[in-house]
């Protein structure tokens, strides 16, 4: 099912909404990448629990921060219909295709 009639190019605001959706999709990928990185560190060469702990928690905070920014951008707080903003942006999501 392809979406017919949708615009090919979007206005700046809708365009950034789309990019925020992309960011929301990519965020867990980034997180997963950051969280498996310590596996590459050799345990003997200074990779102590403390170091890894600091690293993981730092990544965690970073991820939370990014998630916060993305979720804020996805639902503009200044919009008059803030609660409905989520559903308003839903229709721009590309529908999944039938297999």
């Amino acid at each position: 099912m392809s979406r017919d009639g949708g615009p090919i190019f979007l206005a700046r605001r809708a365009y950034f909404q789309r990019r925020m959706m992309d960011a929301a999709r990519l965020l867990p990928v980034l997180g997963a990448g950051m969280f498996v990185l310590p596996l590459l560190w050799k345990s003997g060469e200074g990779a102590r629990t403390v170091a890894v702990m600091f690293y993981i928690f730092l990544c965690w905070v970073l991820l939370i921060g990014l998630g916060w920014i993305v979720s804020r951008r996805l639902s503009p707080a200044d919009a008059p219909d803030a609660p409905g903003a989520g559903t308003a942006s839903e229709h721009q999501v590309r529908p999944s295709r039938e297999g």
């Binding site: 965020l27 310590p38 102590r48 629990t49 403390v50 993981i56 916060w68 979720s71 229709h91």
Partner: protein
């Protein structure tokens, strides 16, 4: 007063507070106040039931045993929450649009509202969750025991089983009170959610407080704490990669599949926008929950006596260091973790059990009629309450049987792997329209069996359920069937091993069976609804209400939803249909709406079955839908046939119109012809009559005069004969009655003959011919062709008005066609008459006497009979006619030379 008494008192007070909060929240919600009840923060906090007592106590124990590995349990859910845009958003949307009541309901609803699947998921969920509930009971009892051990005034041995029993009973009461107030499981349990949110705050505060106390109170600061970690047994980072990745994936999968998580995340969800906040707020919560775990573990390992249970460091560290208040807070944190998990899990499971097991059985036992039997509402609520009791009792039983010996985290992970089996069906159902019921059932069965065999049964300990021989040598001595080394995959961690194999096989079977089997119509309908939920959050259709009795439906709905709600629903539907009163027409729209409303109370599968009982006997189901679909297809086919017929009729009408026009024309032509012919016949007849009368009455008339008159009569008679001959000729030609006498001949002599007959040789007109080109062989009716040539030549002779009349005859061959042009140097035929000259009685001018205007008409007919044609050739500086006819094969070859 001893610490134990304090703890009992504080627990009771705390529970009383929870009761009050829940009660107040319920009241506020009932009065429509308290928008803060629906805030995203409350939603986020309610998600924290993910952090159970296992997390609260067990994480420290986990960390004390294997370092940072405990983090995987939080990293998985963090990734899922941060990636909410992928899955959770869709899950929540589907849950809301389909009024899903549990994960079993979601899976069954997606796969054709199959109750078999719902029952299967329910059973699996109960088996997977029971140990988890036992775990919570255990954590509360051991924390009680820890207090008892530290209480010098308490001498007697505390009975762990009694504690567990009392806690279980208390939880049953609380859950029933606040979890089954309304039947519609899809309605929000505001009181309950509020109480859980409060508990979430308490457990976070408790853990943070203990952490701060340990770091700054016991260890003496951050640097000292880090130093202690470096000196402890967990100083080295040596987590196996498979476990790190495997457990992260496992916890991520479990986070989506756990019945209790589904309950708070999807069923209790108030607003999809809340997910937005929870996407970063929940990771923050779990991050804070895990922040102090390693310091507590390290300091606990350092300070506690050898052999102390690291699971209880959170409690024993403050207790042993004289911080009773902190210990009580810590106890409350653990208590909160345990109770909130048990309450939500019990609600989720009881909804599943009552909707998918008890209600169908009851429906079946009550003779298959939801109308005649008693109050469904009461039955459903009672079923749910009973289920809560049974589930908690099962948990208690498991606790008694297992003896509470195993480490807390182990049971948690086993449970996780069990519920993770829902993942393929869940995600497949949400994202892949090709996923179908058989695939889901097969995948779940295989995954569940592998989990049972490779993890759950061995977890009871060697020889407890599974003989040691099987563990060591595999089932029936087959080494590749060793439970913890399937397909010789030895050397893996048992949990990761079981997770990997059960989920892989689950996915493979699910996909393969889905690929090769054909889904039923309802499955396909629901599949489209689920997968494309963002395009149309509408309803799933499929009811034909022809036979339905609105009144019966109303009676049934009242029993399930309650009289007031049902009446409101019916009245509204009736109003929308423009019908007065309470009984709307049972349109498909109304029926599917009613079904969804009922699904909120009793689950999609049961609601579907109940309506089908009333709407069309018990047989309205997939087959009926199929019939409906067939009917629709037939109607569509019929209408397309109609359309075709309409088109055909239009075509016929057009043809008829054309024929009619032609007939009218012909009629006009006929009239014209008749008047023309009578005129043509009359003119010679008139002169014949006149001159013959003169001859008769003339008496003595000079002979010369008589001869002149007689010759005029003769001429006119000849003219009349010629006219009649022409007419006869034309009519014969037009009716295709002539017989052509085909013969071989050459064009040159034919033209010579025609020129002689047309009188061109008498010197009046110069004729130009190319003798070379004229030598073309013909195979045709030469007499008829000569007739055409004569006609054209005599026309040229008669009508060419040039001073030195001249006729060019050009012969050419084009594409197997012989073309003969007759071009004179006269003034030709005016453009406006060129179209009509081949018609009968058409004459260019009346001034010049001649034939009756039939010559060219006859020529046209002749040429058509000969397979060629004749046309006027404009633009040649004079009258020009072109005659063409197909060449004989031999002639064509000759011409080509």
């Amino acid at each position: 007063m001893g610490a134990l008494n304090v703890i009992v008192l504080v627990s009771l007070l705390y529970v009383a507070l929870l009761f009050c909060v829940a009660f107040a929240a319920d009241r506020a919600a009932a009065r429509g106040r308290g928008t803060w009840l629906r805030s995203p923060i409350v939603y986020t906090l309610s998600l924290s039931i993910y952090c159970t007592a296992w997390t609260f106590y067990g994480a420290v124990g986990f960390a004390a045993r294997s370092g940072l590995e405990y983090l995987t349990i939080y990293l998985g859910p963090t990734l899922v929450m941060v990636g909410w845009w992928w899955t959770l958003r869709k899950m929540v949307r589907v849950g809301r649009s389909q009024r899903i009541t549990s994960i079993a309901d979601l899976i069954s609803s997606r796969f054709g509202k199959s109750n078999a699947l719902a029952v299967f998921v329910t059973v699996l969920a109960v088996i997977g969750t029971t140990p988890y509930i036992a775990l919570q009971l255990q954590s509360v009892t051991i924390s009680f025991a820890a207090f008892a051990a530290a209480d010098p005034t308490h001498t007697g041995e505390i009975s762990e089983t009694a504690t567990a029993l009392w806690v279980a009973v208390g939880l049953v009461v609380f859950t029933i009170l606040f979890g089954t107030r309304n039947l519609d499981a899809n309605e929000r349990h505001h009181g309950l959610v509020m109480a859980i949110a409060l508990e979430a705050v308490v457990k976070l505060c408790a853990l943070l407080a203990v952490g701060i106390f340990v770091v700054w109170g016991l260890a003496g600061g951050v640097d000292e704490t880090l130093a202690r970690i470096d000196q402890s047994a967990i100083a080295r980072w040596d987590v196996p990669g498979s476990r790190w990745v495997g457990l992260t994936l496992l916890s991520a999968a479990a986070f989506m599949c756990l019945p209790r998580m589904f309950q708070v995340m999807v069923v209790e969800n108030e607003d999809e926008g809340h997910l937005r906040t929870a996407s970063w707020a929940f990771p923050t919560y779990v991050m804070l929950m895990s922040l102090f775990v390693v310091p507590i573990a390290a300091v606990g390992l350092d300070l506690s006596p050898a052999g102390a249970n690291p699971d209880l460091f959170v409690l024993t560290l403050p207790l042993e260091n004289g911080q009773e208040g902190l210990a009580v807070l810590s106890f409350l944190g653990g208590f909160s973790s345990a109770t909130s998990m048990v309450i939500v899990a019990a609600i989720a499971l009881s909804t599943m059990v009552s909707n998918h097991v008890v209600m169908p059985v009851w429906l079946w036992m009550s003779g298959g009629s939801a109308v005649i039997s008693g109050d469904v509402r009461q039955v459903a609520i009672r079923a749910r309450r009973l289920s809560i009791g049974v589930i908690l009792f099962l948990g208690y039983l498991y606790f008694r049987v297992s003896g509470g010996g195993t480490a807390l985290a182990a049971i948690g992970l086993i449970s996780f792997v069990g519920v993770a089996q829902f993942l393929p069906a869940l995600l497949g159902g949400l994202f892949w329209r090709g996923a179908n019921r058989r695939g889901a059932l097969a995948g779940l069965s295989v995954g569940f069996a592998v989990w049972m065999y490779s993890l759950f049964l061995p977890s009871f300990g060697a020889s407890a359920v599974m003989p040691q021989a099987v563990l060591d040598e595999g089932l029936m001595g087959l080494s590749w069937l060793r439970p913890q080394a399937l397909f010789w995959a030895a050397g893996m961690d048992p949990v990761v091993h079981a997770f990997m194999w059960s989920l892989s096989l689950n996915i493979v079977v699910f996909v393969v069976v889905s690929l090769v089997s054909f889904p039923q119509p309802v499955e396909r309908l629901q599949g489209a609804q689920f997968v494309n939920v963002f395009e149309h959050s509408a309803t799933s259709g499929g009811w034909t209400g022809g036979l339905a009795q609105s009144e019966d439906l109303m009676i049934m709905a009242q029993r399930i939803m309650g009289a007031k709600e049902a009446q409101a629903l019916f009245a509204e539907a009736a109003r929308e249909q423009g019908v007065g009163g309470y009984l709307p027409e049972p349109t498909p729209d109304f029926l599917s709406r009613l079904e969804r409303s009922l699904a909120g109370s009793v689950g999609a599968a049961t609601a579907h079955a109940m309506i089908s009982q009333i709407v069309g006997g018990a047989s309205v189901s997939v087959q009926d839908l199929m019939a409906v679909a067939d009917e629709t297809a037939q109607i569509m086919e019929y209408s397309s046939q109609l359309e075709m017929k309409t088109e055909e009729q239009a075509r016929t009408a057009r043809q008829l119109r054309q024929v009619n026009e032609k007939l009218t024309q012909i009629s006009v032509q006929k009239d014209a012809f008749l008047s023309q012919i009578s005129h043509e016949l009359r003119t010679p007849m008139t002169s014949i009559r006149a001159f013959s009368e003169i001859l008769r009455d003339g008496g003595d008339m000079p002979e010369a005069e008589q001869r002149r008159y007689a010759s005029i009569i003769h001429d006119e008679a000849i003219r009349l004969t010629r006219l009649l001959d022409d007419l006869l000729d034309l009519s014969v030609l037009e009716n295709a009655q002539i017989v052509l006498s085909l013969e071989d001949g050459e064009l040159g002599p034919l033209l010579d003959r025609a020129a002689v007959a047309a009188g061109l040789t008498d010197g009046g007109m110069v004729m130009h011919r190319d003798a070379e080109a004229d030598r073309v062989r013909l195979h045709t009716d030469t007499d008829r062709l000569a007739q055409v040539f004569i006609n054209l030549m005599s026309n040229a002779r008669k009508y060419c008005d040039a001073e030195a009349p001249r006729l060019d005859i050009r012969v050419a061959e084009r594409n197997g066609t012989l073309v003969v042009d007759f071009i004179d140097n006269g003034s030709g035929i005016p453009t406006d008459q060129q179209g009509t000259i081949f018609e009968k009685f058409a004459r260019v001018s009346e001034t010049k006497a001649g034939g009756a205007g039939l010559g060219l008409a006859i020529c046209r007919e002749i040429m058509a009979r000969l397979g060629g044609g004749i046309e006027y050739l404009p633009g040649q500086d004079g009258g020009a006619f072109r005659v063409y006819l197909p060449m004989a094969e031999g002639a064509a070859a000759q011409a080509a030379q």
